[in-house]
Amino acid sequence: MSLESPRRGLTAVDLSLIASFAALIAALGLPGALTVGGTVPITLQTLGVMLAGSVLGWRRGMLAVITFLALVAVGLPLLAGGRGGIAVFVGPSAGYLIGWIIGAGVIGWIIERHRPPIPTWWFALANVTGGIAVIYAIGIPVQAFITQTSGVVATAVAAVVYLPGDAVKVVIASLVAAGVHRAYPQLLPGSGQPSRRAREQDG
C-alpha cells in the first residue's frame, strides 16, 4: 500500500518525464526516426504512446499524450509527415488521436495493477489492450462517422493497414518497457516505496 496519497501533486521530475515523453512521441514521428525491416518506414508515434503508458503509468502517461496532442493542436507540425494544427482533429484519424490518450491511460492502469517486478508478458497484455484494442475501439467508430461508412468496412481497412505494424510495436514496447523498469525500478508510482522506507530505516 502506498504511504502517500494517490492524489499527490506532480513533482518536478514528474513534469520533466511528462514533457520528455511528449517530446519522445514527437521525435519518433520525425522522418527517418526508425525503419523496421530495412526499407519500409512505419509510423512510430503509437510506439511512443505505448511507451508513455508502459513506462510512466496511467496518470503521467496520459498527461504526456495530452501534452503532445495539445502542441499539435496549437499548430506545431509534430505528427508523422509534418502534420499538425486543428485540422487533424476534424479529419478522419481524429478518433485515433483521442484513442491515444485513453489507450496510454489503460496501458498504464494495467501496468500499475501488477506488483514489481512486472514480467514482459504483462507489458504485452497491457499494450495489446490499451495500445491496440482501446485505440481501435475509439478510432474506428469516429472514422466511420466522419466518412459515413459502415463500421465493418472501416474495421477491415483499419485492421489490414495498421494491425501488422501495431503488433510489431506491441512487442517492441513491451520488451523495451521491461528493460527500462529494470534500469529504473522506481519509475512507477508506488514501486519506489519499499526502497524509500528502507532508506528511512537506514537513516
Binding site: A12, A33, G38
Partner: protein
C-alpha cells in the same frame, strides 16, 4: 520550432484565436448537420473567400489537404458506388471543407497566441484541481525538449548503424528510452534548483 503559421496582416490574422475557434466550431457543426449540396457549395465559397482574404498562397492551401488525398479518392469511389455521386460528394465535401477551415485557423494564428488561448480556456479547470502554471510549464518545456530527444534518437541511431544493428528495433528503442528517462531526472533536478515545480 517552426509552426504551420503563415504570416500576414489580414482580418483573420488579427482576429482573436478564441473567436476563430468558435467560428470553426459553428462552421463544422453547420456543414455536418445540414449536409447537402447547396449548403456545401455555400461553405466552399466561404472557405475560398476566407483563404483569399487571408492571402494564403494556393499551393500552401493545397498542402493542408494533401494528407487527405488517398482517403478522399477511396471514399469518393466507394460511396459513389454504394450511395451515388450526390451522397459521395456530400460526404467527401464535408470532410474536405472541415479540414480546410481548421487548417485556415492554424495558418492564421501563431503557435504562441494559440498556446496562450489554450491556457486561458483551461482556467476554469483550476476548480477541479488542475494547476494551470504547471500545465503552461510542461507545454513550454516540451517545445524545448523536442530537439533534445530528437538528438538522442539521432545519436542512438548512428551508434546502432556503427555496430551493424540496423535491423534490431529493440537495440534502438531501449537506449533511447533509458536516455530519455535519465535526461528527465536531470531536467527535474534543474527545475528544482530554479525553484520550479516542487
Amino acid at each position: 520550432m517552426i509552426g504551420i503559421y503563415y504570416p500576414g496582416t489580414s482580418w483573420l490574422h488579427r482576429a482573436p484565436p478564441g473567436l476563430k475557434l468558435v467560428m470553426l466550431l459553428l462552421f463544422t457543426t453547420t456543414i455536418v448537420i445540414f449536409r447537402s449540396l447547396p449548403v456545401l457549395a455555400g461553405a466552399a465559397l466561404l472557405i475560398f473567400i476566407a483563404y483569399t482574404l487571408a492571402r494564403i498562397p494556393m499551393g500552401l492551401a493545397l498542402t493542408q489537404l494533401r494528407p487527405l488525398r488517398w482517403i478522399v479518392l477511396l471514399l469518393m469511389a466507394f460511396q459513389w458506388w454504394l450511395l451515388g455521386w450526390e451522397r459521395a460528394i456530400e460526404i467527401v465535401g464535408t470532410l474536405v471543407l472541415a479540414v480546410a477551415a481548421a487548417a485556415l485557423i492554424t495558418l492564421t494564428t501563431t503557435t504562441t497566441a494559440m498556446l496562450a488561448t489554450l491556457e486561458r480556456m483551461l482556467t476554469p479547470a483550476r476548480f477541479i484541481g488542475v494547476d494551470i502554471e504547471k500545465v503552461a510549464l510542461v507545454l513550454t518545456l516540451t517545445i524545448r525538449v523536442v530537439p533534445v530527444i530528437a538528438d538522442i534518437v539521432g545519436s542512438v541511431r548512428d551508434a546502432r548503424r556503427a555496430r551493424g544493428l540496423e535491423r534490431n528495433a529493440r537495440a534502438f528503442v531501449t537506449p533511447v528510452v533509458i536516455r530519455t528517462v535519465g535526461y528527465s531526472h536531470d531536467l527535474g533536478d534543474a527545475l528544482i534548483a530554479r525553484g520550479v515545480g516542487d
